[in-house]
Amino acid sequence: MSQTVAELAYPMSRTKPFNPPDGYADLREHEPFARVRLWDGTYPYLLTKFDDIRAVLSNPQFSCEPNREGFPHVFEGRMVADKADRSFLRLDNPEHDRLRRMVTKEFTVRRIEQLTPRIEESMDRLITQYSQLPQGADFVEHFSAPLPTEIITFLLGIPYEDHQFFHEATRIQFGSKSTPPEVRKSLDDLFNYLDALITRKDREPQDDIVSRLVVEQLKPGHVDRLTLINIVRLLLSAGHQTTQNMTALGVLTLLQHPDQLALIKSNPEMIPGAVEELLRFSSVLHVGARRVALEDIDVNGKLVKAGEGVICSIPAANRDPDLFPDPDRLDVERDAARHVAFGFGIHQCLGQVLARAELRIVYGSLFNRLPNLRLAVPFEKLRFRHDMFVYGVHELPLAW
């Protein structure tokens, strides 16, 4: 048994695009702390039970710092980017909280509520433009990518016109096939871009997040320049990549589940619950979350030794039947509130209120604006993002 388990390669491939790899259910039942082999010949644990994953992610003795011995690196290129990351995403406490609190005021429920008209304006304009394109136009390129990018660049004070540059940077830095030199070059280019941006904001501060960080944090010396560049890079990449993929995958999921789509079309009050269910069902952060034990730790009766790596599978946690009965069924009426699609513990997504607002606004309007929205190609032709750190579809040709 241990031999077979040791030969499980990670990441595993999916057979059904909407479901996690088939093996997860089996592992959850029989081997909830499975050893999996990574590209570099290391064997971290893969955790698949909701309770174990929550226990690890809320335990400060599990570190998320990529330069520590034993931290699991899932792609070679991603390792380079993770090791260079000095944002709070990749820092333990106390430094994590100190840096995160420099930006938390920007993403509160109240601030995002104030942003709602801006999101609606972008969405309405993008739907109008999209509907004027030829039938079969790519929904990712013309809607689900531009929408969150417009919003996060507006908030940060970054010119939207540069979006191709940082979309390309994201593609390289989060792709499973990117080589270390490619990632290093892309990081250098992006850091130089953000360094110049910070210089501009320093010279002429405006009403945006980067300006406030420069004035309130960089100039008084609360944060050094390289760390600030990393924080802005995090906000930029997390602010467009995840929501872009969740938006498109959620639209596709609803189109493939017409009974569920009909429910939310006729019951708009069900949209917030449907967003939670779609977040649970899709779990676009499909590799990770990753940690390394700082000391010997008992996790619900299982000893994880100091220095051992742990991969907490978010998709597996969100399909745990102990929490979500009949987990592979999309049910917009179920109580999905406890899902961990945004992670759990101190690193849980900073932008989740914004992401929820964008998703609610899109799912609440799109299908009414374009009531005949449908796939323009056979489902089998779609290319899913098996090869990327964030799951979704590469293109989504729709008709309306």
Partner: protein, 87 residues
């Protein structure tokens, strides 16, 4: 644990007599990471500080109609900064 928010001062502090079988909520503002889930789930009980997004407890003893949502907020809080005391 006392709520550090000034907005809490108009409500009973721990130790003050409260009715029996009343739910009591406390928050740990040092643990809070300002994810905002409590405000989304239970806006009558929780708010966020304008300055840093950190949790502000609007009432230590939620009205019965808000108890379920306050309990849910405690369960989904990612930094486990909310405690429900059933007394």
């Amino acid at each position: 644990m006392t709520c550090l928010s000034t907005e809490c001062t108009s409500f009973p502090w721990p130790g003050e007599p409260t009715e029996s079988n009343v739910m009591r909520i406390t928050v740990n503002r040092l643990r809070c990471i300002a994810a905002g889930q409590c405000v989304l789930k239970s806006p009558h009980v929780f708010d966020q500080d304008e300055q840093d997004g950190i949790v502000v407890l609007l009432t230590e003893n939620p009205a019965p109609e808000f108890e379920a949502s306050a309990r849910l907020a405690a369960r989904v809080c990612p930094s486990e900064a909310i405690t429900v005391h059933d007394e």
